[in-house]
């Protein structure tokens, strides 16, 4: 395993080193020590490497990730794995606001809790939160799956499109145009796979599915109160 010590190595050098590892690299295992809450650690990665960050991170760790696995042994600041395309980001602790924002693909696993706006504007990413999520999560979520083993805060899935939300605990309130949905066999299968890949000890049958009521897809003055 290669080690990058941020006590002695600048952020630019850390990221440039990791970003230069492409599909055929034989240096696949990397470790970052002393991150000390730095921002934009391991962002823009573009190859099948595994990066372990030993400590907590600032904003946008693992941003726009492609193919890489980034494992944060600590908690993550705002916007972790934002706009992720593929690969996996795992956070052992908690995640701050906007976790997985606008993500297009890949898997984001948060073993603690996620703050507000988790999965905001998600576009295909899968997010599994072992704990709770904050208010306005999955706001304007377009596609992908958000799985929550704990509870969800206010206004879950407000103005969402085709994304699916699976919550095991309580939902404080649903946002505009978000409603409870029937859990069909295909949803059980999706959920089973995601729980397994996220190392989550829960049964798919314990969850409730939510999604768009599709009433706000085209403007209608009679729905003005919902806008």
């Amino acid at each position: 395993m290669q080690t990058l010590d941020m006590a002695t190595t600048e952020l630019r050098e850390v990221n440039a080193t990791l970003q230069s590892q492409k599909a055929d690299t034989n240096q696949r295992a990397w470790e970052i020590v002393n991150p000390k809450g730095s921002h934009a650690i391991a962002c823009g990665l573009d190859g099948p490497i595994e990066v372990t960050v030993r400590g907590s991170t600032g904003y946008y760790c693992g941003g726009m990730n492609k193919e890489a696995t980034v494992h944060i042994v600590g908690s993550a600041g705002p916007g972790v794995a934002e706009n992720m395309m593929s690969g996996t980001v795992i956070i052992d602790g908690d995640a701050s606001q906007y976790a997985g924002a606008t993500g297009h693909g890949g898997l984001l696993v948060i073993k603690g809790n996620a703050s507000s706006r988790c999965g905001i504007s998600m576009k295909g990413i899968d997010i599994v939160v072992h704990g709770n999520i904050g208010h306005m999560s999955a706001f304007m979520a377009q596609s992908g799956n958000l799985v929550v083993l704990g509870d969800a805060g206010d206004a879950l899935g407000d103005s969402c499109y085709e994304a699916r939300f699976f919550v095991r605990g309580k939902v404080k309130s649903l946002g505009a145009d978000c409603e409870e949905k029937e859990m069909r066999p295909e949803h059980i299968e999706i959920l089973k796979d995601l729980l397994e890949r996220a190392g989550a000890d829960a049964k798919p049958e314990e969850f409730t599915r939510y999604g768009s009521a599709r009433k706000l897809y085209n403007f209608n003055i009679d729905n003005a109160a919902a806008y």
Partner: protein
């Protein structure tokens, strides 16, 4: 016996007087709103009359300043954008860029024509809400990639293909507002690029999903630079709302370039009430923005691009004389391509409008085939001929600006200065900081000869 209820013959009557408050257009809008239950959505920028570059004049040379010979003595037009932090600043032959306009709002061939025209004139084009298409990347030698709140189509590969990144915070047509692409224009390809179902109204968020405020923006810019290896310039586009503070905060957040878009700047579609009632005229925005840069010692170090109602070389010269490093055009570029051309008058009439007034771009029925995704209408537009028209227009504007600059004795457009101008109205003088014609007076500042 006389009928007292009728006025006697030969007595003049009061002429019908229409209200200056309840005008015909206002009344028509009231009736339309009452009938439909929806606010008016349209494209373009503010149509109301506001103080503009027409209210400024150049003084020209005199005994105290001598002019340069037209066509003989050089007047440079090159501009370099992004010199503050980027390894690869953008070098343009002319200081007139093409503003962000999305694939989705515009057809693929229209985007191609913008690229062709800009290339031929030696300038850049800009993507829009909806991501980067291979066509526009292929046809634009210098392409600015917009980083928008919706993040439709955003991905690191395209980010790295860009020659610059423009973080869009606001747009002059709708400061504080998001975008809107109505279902009629959502073709399969547009839907796929935006990860949304076909045929639904696509709303773009009004603020970014993963940052709020200038401190966050600074970190967001750090991330974008880390992903792109600090190679390309980062622009921040702000609407003409609070130009002094917005420019200050954009510079503080680490911008290489500030793009300032006044209320005449166009949009593909938003509410008319927004376009006409929110934001400041372009003319009123430039001096505060330049003042902010000067107060920070960053004028010319962070470049300023001004947009919103730029139509002629005179407008280019006036914006630059007020302190801009370059300008951007959107609406004017579309007109050069063929938008609102009177040759389609019969079809505009059939849509209930007339050439020059057509602004229902969101409906996707553009007779000129530019703001549409309809294959039949799109086929009317030839991207090669359109590109040629745009390059002609850009070159004419450049020549016009050079003509004025030479007359003012300037060997580079950047050397134009406020002292080369006077204002025709008290309002324009106050907004631009240029003295009222025939005086040395700027309202609010006093002044003596």
């Amino acid at each position: 016996m006389n009928d007292m209820t009728k006025p006697p013959l030969g007595i003049p009557q009061t002429a019908p007087i229409k209200s200056a408050t309840f005008t015909d257009p206002i009344n028509a809008e009231i009736r339309r709103a009452a009938a439909t239950g929806i606010y008016d959505i349209r494209g373009g920028g503010a149509k109301r009359k506001v103080p503009h570059f027409d209210d400024l004049l150049f003084l020209g040379a005199s005994i105290s300043r001598y002019p340069l010979e037209g066509y003989r003595e050089k007047c440079e037009t090159k501009v370099t954008l992004g010199t503050r932090f980027a390894k690869n600043p953008i070098e343009l032959d002319i200081p007139i860029t093409i503003a962000g306009m999305s694939f989705g709002a515009l057809s693929g061939p229209a985007k191609e024509a913008l690229g062709r025209g800009a290339n031929a004139a030696g300038t850049s084009t800009t993507t829009g809400d909806g991501g980067m298409t291979p066509e526009e990347r292929g046809h634009s030698s210098k392409l600015v990639y917009q980083y928008l709140p919706s993040r439709y189509g955003m991905n690191p590969d395209d980010l790295r293909k860009a020659d610059a990144i423009e973080v869009v915070v606001g747009q002059g047509a709708k400061p504080g507002g998001g975008g809107m692409l109505l279902g009629q224009k959502i073709s399969d390809r547009v839907a796929e690029m935006r990860n949304l179902p076909k045929g639904i109204d696509q709303r773009s968020a009004c603020r970014h999903p993963d940052w709020t405020g200038p401190d966050d923006l600074e970190i967001k810019i750090l991330e974008l630079r880390e992903i792109t290896g600090w190679r390309v310039p980062i622009y921040i586009k702000v609407a003409g709302a609070r130009p002094y503070y917005d420019t200050t905060l954009a510079v503080k957040a680490g911008a290489d370039v500030v793009v300032l878009d006044g209320m005449q700047g166009g949009t593909a579609a938003t509410q008319d009430v927004f376009i006409e009632n929110v934001g400041q005229p372009t003319l009123a925005c430039i001096r505060p923005a330049v003042q902010a840069l000067q107060d920070m010692g960053m004028h010319r170090k962070v470049q300023l691009i001004v947009s919103g109602g730029i139509r002629t070389g005179a407008d280019v010269a006036k914006a630059m004389a007020l302190g801009a490093d370059a300008v951007a055009i959107g609406t004017a570029a579309l007109i050069a391509l063929g938008d609102n051309d009177p040759r389609w008058e019969a079809e505009y009439n059939a849509l209930g409008t007339t050439a020059g007034a057509y602004d229902d771009w969101h409906e996707g029925k553009d007779p000129a085939g530019i703001t549409t995704q309809d294959p039949e209408l799109m086929a009317r537009f030839d991207p090669i001929a359109g590109g040629r028209r745009l390059s002609n227009y850009l070159k004419v504007m450049t020549l016009e600006a050079q003509t004025i600059a030479r007359a003012c004795g300037k060997n580079h457009l950047h050397n134009l200065e406020p002292e080369d101008m006077c204002a025709l109205t008290v309002e324009a003088s106050a907004m631009s900081g240029v003295p009222l014609a025939g005086t040395n007076w700027v309202p609010g500042r006093g002044g003596d000869y």
